[in-house]
């Protein structure tokens, strides 16, 4: 089982540890979504899944070599200006995407709460198994 070896300036744990934690979070989230009857619990499972994805993104951002492309295509910087200093370092992409995921999670949670409250108002319960309006 080849494991990435920690170098001097590496974090205390190697990439695989983070990926394993993320995989476990993911599995827990899927399990929660699959088994829970309560819509709010399902929402929690979704958050777990998103966190798992975030952990992976940030871990890759930290460990894995970033592509060399920089900046939006077609935009040329003046000479002598380091593109890293303008567009951000290339390895920051994972962090940025994690931030986007956090933003989306906030939006998703707000909408989900609204939907859950709507379900509760209409059905008097939040059992997702009873919400089968889209049954074919």
């Amino acid at each position: 089982m080849p494991l990435a070896v920690a170098a001097n300036n590496m974090p205390v744990a190697s990439l695989e540890w983070f990926l394993l934690v993320g995989a476990f979070l993911f599995a827990c989230g899927i399990f929660t979504i699959l088994t829970r009857k309560n819509a709010v619990s399902v929402l929690m499972g979704v958050e777990l899944v998103l966190n798992a994805a975030n952990v992976n993104l940030v871990a890759f951002s930290r460990f894995v070599k970033a592509p060399a492309t920089l900046g939006p295509a077609g935009i040329e910087l003046p000479k002598g200006v380091d593109p890293h200093l303008v567009y951000g370092a290339p390895w920051i992409g994972g962090n940025v995407f994690a931030a986007f995921v956090i933003i989306l999670a906030a939006a998703e949670a707000a909408v989900a709460l609204g939907i859950i409250l709507g379900i509760y108002r209409n059905l008097g319960d939040v059992d997702v198994d009873q919400v089968t309006g889209m049954k074919g």
Binding site: P11, V12, L77, P78, V81, D82, L85, V86
Partner: protein, 412 residues
């Protein structure tokens, strides 16, 4: 003067750790050991001030008995010293030492000894956990306050962001208390408090981000450093504070921040979560004794934190109102004390203002409260943020000659 460096020196293996681990270690290991010794007196002094002022406002005495003299008289060994206060040369001085100064210590003693009541229907675990979460959340913010020149527990590069993040930890704690108490007043209070905090976080954050945007950093020590000069003066005294910079335009974010801060710590006139006319005592209705004191300490430490943040972000933190070169030649320790003095003086000034507000203003209604947040404070804060952005960009444009590309300004 960074505790982190001190910790590094103390424990050499810390150098290998990521800074964040050390920060967290500092926060969670030294929280109760160090910050309690610092914050508990702070909150205590705040309660004393509040009670004295409340007494004056209501035309009665506040706490006036438990002072140093009482403490001395309480113990047989020191009782003779207490008698000295009746002797002529000391009588004058003794009469000047306010009584009741140690009332909070006595109260703490009392609360520690009271019976710990947990309602039978309550969710025991949540009920017990809640005070710790709330207090941890409010105390953790103290780690980054620049109590003097370049002196904070940790010199965090995302300082103010960290403060905001930590203060949001309080909300689940309050909900925990509300739900765990199995009391509808507590639940209502908790949910009101949570919604209020979450709502007011937005204008507060925008107002603070205005300062961050102007300073170009989130590090609180650096924010303080940017307030040393202003209006083209190298060492400008109070003119460099963000409150007075930009021709007084920053007064608006400051007012928004202060109103929102008062609401975030559930102070009157925003103390609906614990409005006794409606909800008995809000989310801590069922709490008593030691656990109740945690909530209380959290509230008063939050008051101080609001003042400290206002001081740091708008009033130059530890910077004196006079230009710093007046005291630059003084010894290091005195200068440190100078900064310490000004920081706490300003912060306590805000505490005083909040206490006066409590005893002056009537309580808001819940819909008025939300309307004030969403329909008044937030739009103004947003507009002002954009306005200050424009002003900063205009100043950068003026400062940077046209031939230099604007992108090059980014990495400065």
């Amino acid at each position: 003067m960074q505790l982190i460096q001190f910790a590094h020196g103390l424990l050499p293996f810390l150098a290998k750790w990521p800074d964040w681990v050390v920060y967290l270690a500092v926060v969670f290991l030294f929280a109760f050991a160090i910050l309690n010794t610092l914050v508990a007196p702070l909150t205590g002094i705040s309660t004393y001030i509040e009670r004295r002022l409340a007494g004056r406002a209501q035309y009665r005495w506040g706490p006036n008995r438990v002072g140093i003299r009482s403490l001395l008289a309480a113990m047989p060994i020191t009782r003779p010293i207490s008698k000295l206060a009746d002797v002529q040369p000391f009588k004058f001085i003794g009469s000047k030492i306010p009584g009741g100064l140690l009332q909070f210590a006595a109260d703490g003693l009392k609360l520690f000894t009271k019976e710990d009541i947990i309602p039978a229907q309550a969710d025991k675990m949540l009920f017990r956990l809640s005070p710790y979460v709330v207090m941890a959340g409010s105390f953790a913010a103290f780690a980054v306050f620049p109590v003097s020149f370049w002196c904070s527990a940790i010199n965090l590069n995302i300082g103010i962001f960290y403060v905001l993040g930590m203060s949001s930890v309080v909300v689940p704690g309050i909900l925990m208390a509300g739900w765990g108490s199995a009391n509808k007043w507590a639940l209502f209070g908790g949910m009101r408090s949570a919604s209020q905090i979450v709502s007011y976080e937005i204008p507060v954050a925008i107002a603070l981000m205005t300062v961050v945007m102007l300073a170009g950093t989130m590090n609180m020590n650096e924010i303080v450093a940017t307030q040393r000069s202003g209006y083209g003066i190298e060492k400008a005294g109070f003119l460099g504070w963000y409150l007075f910079r930009y021709g007084g335009l920053m007064i608006v974010p400051f007012v928004i921040y202060f109103i929102g801060g008062c609401a975030e710590v559930n102070r009157t006139p925003f103390d609906l979560p614990e409005g006794e006319s409606e909800l008995v005592s809000g989310y801590h209705t069922e709490y008593s004794g030691f656990r109740w004191s945690f909530f209380f300490m959290a509230e008063y430490s939050n008051m101080f934190a609001v003042g400290a943040i206002a001081t740091t972000m708008f009033l130059g933190g530890p910077l004196p109102p006079y230009p710093v070169q007046f005291t630059e030649s003084l010894p290091m320790l005195i200068r440190f004390g100078e900064g310490f003095f000004w920081f706490f003086a300003k912060s306590y000034f805000f505490v005083l203002v909040m206490i006066h507000m409590r005893w002056t203003l009537p309580r808001y209604r819940i819909d008025q409260l939300m309307q004030l947040c969403w329909k008044v404070l937030m739009p103004i804060a947003l507009v002002w943020f954009v306005l200050m952005c424009g002003i900063k960009m205009a100043r950068m444009e003026m400062a940077a000659p046209a031939e230099a590309p604007v992108v090059a300004e980014v990495h400065k």
